[in-house]
Symmetry: D2
Subunit: 373 residues, 4 copies
C-alpha cells in the first residue's frame, strides 16, 4: 500500500494527479479501497501462524529491530525512534519529504531529515499556535499564514466560524501538494473554499499585498543558519513589512523555537525581545511537545492590549466560536501555557538581543525542518 | 592513574580541591595532589595547538565522535547523548552506579543504565517535588523522604527554616555513600545536623516508626515490573502504613512518573486515582524535565484542604520561609505546573484503575532508575 | 497491494516492465505501465535545482541524516548503515521481508530485520557457496539447493554448462515470489527451464525424493534458537536423510555461519566436526563478506577425495565449464579461501561438539536471517 | 584497573580508604598489584547478591544498556559496540586517548574517537605487519618502526632472536607513555633493552639518521585528509628518504589501509602502485581484522626478490627464529593472506594512481586513528 501511494505520489509530484486518477480509475478513494482489498487478500493468504506473527511481532517487531529515524537535536543529543514503514517520499526544489509510520508517534512528517509533525501530538503545536491569538481577537475574519504548508495550521484557523478567508503562503509547492494528498487529517482544510493557497516567499507576498489581516501566523522553520527563514524574524521585517498588513486590533503570533529550561535562550528569548521593539503588547507562551523532545515556544504580539479573561470565559468563547472540540487547549490550559516558569521568565526579561539581518541568531534545528517560508 | 585524574577532575569540577581533600582521608588527598600534579604536568607539555584543541574540540569532540549514553525510553524510542567522561562508578547490592560527564546535561547520575538526575536540570524535579507541599503546609517541621538517596530532595527540604528534622530513608547504602562523596551540590545537605539518614526499606521503616511527619515525600523509582517500588504506590500502603504517619494537616507528595501528552496514562493517572481513594484532597501537577525527555508528574494528597493562594502570596511565603533563591519555582510557576492541559486532565478524571499489589501497573522506565526505596 | 507498486518500482529498477508485467495479473501489469510512465515524467518535471539536489545531496543526504538500519550482531555489537529508501516490503507466513536502498551496500534484502544479502557483495557469498564444490566435482549435472529462496545460489549453479537440473527447495513461498519479482539480478535464473522450484521443508522434501544429486547445497539460515534450521545441521540428518540423496562422487556444501577470529566457535567449528562424523573428506573454507561485518564460513563434504588442483587448472576449468566470468573466485582465490589461518584451524582441529537435536548450538544471528529452509 | 580502584573506593566509602591510600605510592607496578588486591577485596565485601550481579549482569548489562562506542566507518556506516568502562583517558598534543573496556573486543585503545587496537584481535594486525617481512629476510638485526606508539609492533619485532635493535619513532609522547603504562601486554617490550624509543616525526628522523635498517615498518595512520601521515605514503618519501635507510636486502613493510571487497580502492591500491614505482619487488597481502569491521591490507617492498618458501619451511623458520608462539600466522596462513581474491587483485593490477603530495588520496578513516607518525 505504501508503495502504491508512492507511485501515486510520484505522479502527483510531477503534477499529473488527474492523469493518474483517471488511469487508476479516477479517484484516490479507489486507491484506498484497492489497497484495503489487497491488504485483506494477503490477510486471507496468511495462515494462523502468520496472522499471529504479523499482529504480535510482524511489522512493529521489524521496525523495532532494524529501522530507526535519528534526529540530531544538538551536536551531542539524539532523538531516535523506530520506523516500521516509509509511507511516502518526495523531493522538492528545497528539501526531501518523507511520511513515515513511526513506533511511538504514529505517522511522522519529515522534511530534510527533521521531524516536522507527528500524528500523535501535532494537535498540541497547532492548537497552540492558532487559537490563543484568535480567541483574544474580538472577531477574526482574515488570517494570513506564513509557511504552514503542512495544512494543520490552516485547518485549525478554519475551525473559527468568524473566519472568511485564510491565506496560506508557503514557498514549497511540493510539500503543499504532498501534504494535501497524504495527510488525510488536513484534506478537508485543503479543499475548504475559504482557503486561499499561495506558493511564494511569505516576505515577498506580504510586501506585494495591500489587504490587511486580523491575524498573521508565523508557522515557520526556526532561524537556522543557511535557512532563509531568519529574515522573517527580524525587527525590520516586523516593523516595515508585517505590521502594515495587520488590521486595527490585529495580532501576530509566531512560533518561537524551543523554549525548554535548557534551550529557550537559543532563539526564543531574542524573538520575544525583538517583537517587544515593534509591538506594544507581547506575550510569550510555551508547551511541551513530546515528539519534539522539548517544550516549544510561541509569541503573540499586538498594539492593542490582550484583555484578561477567566478560564470560564475562554471556555465559553471556544464553544461559541469554534467548530468541533479542542483536544489540548481550554481556558485552564491557556492559563497554564501562558504562565512560564521563573527560570524562562527571567531569561526573557533579561534578553537584550534584537534580531536583525546582521545579528541573526541561529539554532541547531529542533524538530522543525529548515523549510523556506 | 585515571582514578587519580578522576578525583582531580572532581576537584576541578567542584572547584574545592582543598576542601575536598580535607574532607576525605589522607590517601585520597594524596591521590588528589598526585593527580593535580600529573594534570599540571601534562598542562605544561601541552602546547598552544593542543591547548586550543582541548578547549575547542578536545574532550567534547571526542564525546561527540565516539561515546554515547543511550536510554531506551520506550521499546522503540531512544534518548541518546554524548558522554565525555565517566567520572565515577560503583556497584551496590541493587544496581550499578555511574556519574558521567555528558555533553548536553552536564554531570549525569545513572543508576542501572537509567538517567536518574542531571546537573543541568535536576533543580526542576527537586524543587517541584519538595516545595509546593511544604509551602501549602502551615509550618512544616518534620519531613520523611522515601528514597531520595541522591540527596537533592533532602537538600531542598532543608532549605525551609521551619524544618527541624528530615528523615531520609533509602535502602541503598552504596548509592547514598556514592552521592554523598561525588555530588558536590549535595554535600552540605548530607552533613546537615537536621538530616537523619536511615538505610532501610521505607515501607518497613514507616511501619516501625511511631513518630509522625508534617510532610512525607515519595522520591521513588517508578513502579517498574520486577522493581519492589510498586508496593509504595498501592492503596493499602497509603491507607495503612503511610497515612498513620502523617501528623494532623500533614501532606504526602509523591513523584508520579511521566505525565506527557503521550505517557501520562502509563502510571500517573492511576497513582492519582489511587490517592483519591485514600485522601480527601488530591492535587496532580507536572513540569517538563528536559533530561527526562518528557514532562514529569507529581501528586500531592492530604485530608486537609489546600488553601488557595495568589502567586504574590506564594512568592512572599517563599522569601519568608526559604534559605536562598529558587531557580524554577515561584508563585506564577506554581500556578503553571498545577494547571494541567485539557488532554491530561480528562485522562485523570476518567481514570478508574486503583493501584493494589494485585493490579499493579508498570511502565517501561522513564528517566528514573529502578531503585529500591 | 505493496506487491502492486513494488512491481511498478521493479520496472524502473530492472527495466523489464513488459516481461514483468506479463508475469503479473492485469491490475498489476496496468500499474506497472502506469508507474513506468510516471517515473520518466517526474524525471522530466524535476527542474535543475531539484535534479542536482537528488543526485548530489537529495536521497543520500537524507539517508545519512535520518534513517538507519541497525542489526544487532551480538548483544553489544551493532552494524548500522544509512537507508535512503524502502523499495519493497512484504510479509510471509514466516517473516517480514524488506528490500531497501542502503548507502554503503546498495540494495539490501532484509528478512525479519536481518541483513540477508547486499547488492554490493552478495557475489562473494554466492560464488563461494556454489562454485568450489561444483568445480571439484567431475561433471555436476544435478544440484539440490536447501533454502536459497533469494535465487542467487540457483543463479550461480545454473552458470555451469554441465548442469541439467537445479532443484531449489525453500519453505517460504512469499520470499521466493518477492525475490523473483524484485531481485532483477536473479530474474533470469528464476525463469530458467532447468530450475525446478519446490516450496517445502527441505528435510521433508529430501526424505520424500528418490532421485540423487551430484551437489547438495545448504544455503540455510544459521542455527538460531527457535529457528527450525538447526535440524538441517545435525549428524542424523546428514547421515540418514541427506547422504542417501548424494549420487556417487556427490558433494555436500553448506554455509557454516560466521568464521571470523572472534566468532568461528559459535557454530562453524561444530558444523565442521559434525560433518567429519559422517563424511570421509571434509573441507572448511571462509571469506570476508563486508556487509555481514565478518568472515563467513562454508564446509564441503564428500566420501570421495577432493583432488588437488593447481590455480591454473582451476582457472581453465572455470573458463571451460562456466557461462560468464566470476568476480570473486578464481584459482588463486580458491587457494586463499581454503587456507584458513592458524587460529581458526586450531579451533577446528580441537572441536569435539557434534550437532544433534539434543546438543544443538545456537548463535546470536549473523547477517543471515532466521529463515526456515 | 582504574575500575578496580574505583570499586575499591566505593566499597570502602565506609572506611578502608586508609588501606587504599597507604598502599598507593605512585609506582605503576604497585598500583597494578594494588588494583588486583582491591578487586578481590571488593568481591569479598560485596555480598552474594552483588557479587552475582557484578559477574552475571552487573557491568556487562550496564554496558549493554547504556554506554556505546560509535565509530563512523563511512559517512553512512557505523560500527557500534557496548562499553562497560573507561579504564584510562589522556590528552596529547595531537589527540585524545582512551582505553576502554568493550563488550565484544575486550580492552580497546581509542585515539581521537577511532578504534586503534583491540585486545581481542590486535594480534592479527601486529603479527601480520611484522613477521612476514622479517621471515622473508635472511637475518633481520635492525628494525625501524615509523609510528607504532602503541608498542605492539615493537613487541612482535623483538620476538625475533636475530634482532639487535628496534628503533620505534612516534611523534606522540603522551600516547607512548599512556600505552607503556596501561597496555600490560606491551610492558615487557617497552622495557626491552634492545628498544630505542624516539619521539619525533619519522620523516625527519629518517632524514637525519645515517644508519641503515634491515626492516622498516610503517605502522602509521591511514592517509586521512588533514592528517600529516600522508607524506609517509608518497613516492618521493619512499624514493629519497626511506629507501636510502634500507640496508642491502632490506625490506619495507607498511600498513595499507582497508583492503575489503568494497574498500580496497580507497588507498590500498594506490599505496601498492606507488611502491611499485620505487621498488623492484612489491607484495600486497591482507587479512580480516574483526574489530576494524573490515579486511586490512599491508604491502611489502624490496629491491631483492622474496624467495618462495613452502608453508613447512616457513613454519620451521618461525620456530627457529622466534621466541614464543604466534597465534595467527604460520606457513599456511601466510600462503592465505598473500593470496588475494580475484576482485582485489584486478583492482591492484589496474591501479594507475601514484601517491605524491600533490595527488594525495584520502579515506574516511577506518579503525586507525589519525595519528601523526
Amino acid at each position: 500500500m505504501s508503495e502504491a501511494i508512492t507511485s501515486a505520489n510520484t505522479v502527483h509530484l510531477n503534477g499529473s494527479g488527474q492523469t493518474n486518477g483517471s488511469i487508476v480509475n479516477g479517484t484516490k478513494q479507489f486507491i484506498v479501497e484497492d489497497a484495503a482489498r489487497k491488504t485483506s487478500q494477503s490477510a486471507n493468504t496468511v495462515n494462523g501462524v502468520a496472522a499471529n506473527k504479523v499482529s504480535a511481532n510482524g511489522v512493529s517487531s521489524t521496525s523495532k529491530r532494524c529501522l530507526w529515524f535519528e534526529e540530531e537535536l544538538e551536536e551531542d543529543l539524539r532523538w531516535v525512534f523506530g520506523v516500521s514503514k516509509i509511507l511516502h517520499t518526495g523531493v522538492s526544489d528545497f528539501q526531501d519529504i518523507q511520511l513515515v509510520e513511526s513506533g511511538p508517534f504514529g505517522k511522522v512528517l519529515i522534511l530534510d531529515g527533521k521531524l516536522q509533525s507527528a500524528e500523535a501530538d501535532e494537535f498540541v503545536y497547532h492548537e497552540s499556535i492558532v487559537h490563543p491569538a484568535m480567541l483574544y481577537h474580538q472577531e477574526p475574519t482574515t488570517v494570513f499564514i506564513m509557511g504552514g504548508g503542512e495544512g494543520s495550521t490552516a485547518r485549525e484557523a478554519l475551525r473559527h466560524k468568524s473566519v472568511k478567508k485564510v491565506v496560506m503562503c508557503d514557498i514549497d509547492k511540493e510539500v503543499v501538494d504532498f501534504c494535501r494528498e497524504h495527510l488525510s487529517a488536513n484534506s478537508e482544510a485543503f479543499s475548504n473554499r475559504r482557503l486561499e493557497l499561495v506558493i511564494d516567499d511569505a516576505l515577498a507576498e506580504l510586501e506585494r499585498r495591500e489587504d490587511k489581516f486580523d491575524i498573521i501566523v508565523g508557522d515557520l522553520a526556526d532561524p537556522v543558519d543557511g535557512g532563509p527563514c531568519y529574515k522573517l524574524y527580524t525587527q525590520s521585517f516586523y516593523e516595515n513589512i508585517l505590521k502594515p498588513r495587520l488590521s486595527p486590533g490585529g495580532i501576530l503570533v509566531t512560533q518561537g523555537g524551543p523554549a525548554g529550561i535548557l534551550t529557550h535562550k537559543e532563539v526564543y528569548t531574542s524573538i520575544y525581545n525583538t517583537l517587544r521593539q515593534v509591538f506594544k503588547y507581547v506575550v510569550p507562551y510555551a508547551a511541551h511537545v513530546p515528539s519534539y523532545a522539548d517544550s516549544w515556544g510561541w509569541v503573540m504580539a499586538s498594539d492593542h492590549p490582550f484583555p484578561t479573561s477567566s478560564p470560564e470565559e475562554t471556555d465559553s468563547r471556544i464553544s461559541k466560536r469554534l467548530v468541533g472540540d479542542l483536544r489540548f487547549l481550554d481556558g485552564q490550559t491557556m492559563a497554564a501555557i501562558f504562565a512560564l516558569n521563573k527560570h524562562v521568565r527571567n531569561s526573557l526579561a533579561q534578553e537584550t538581543h534584537v534580531y536583525t539581518e546582521e545579528t541573526a541568531r541561529f539554532i541547531h534545528g529542533h524538530g522543525t525542518a529548515q523549510r523556506p517560508h
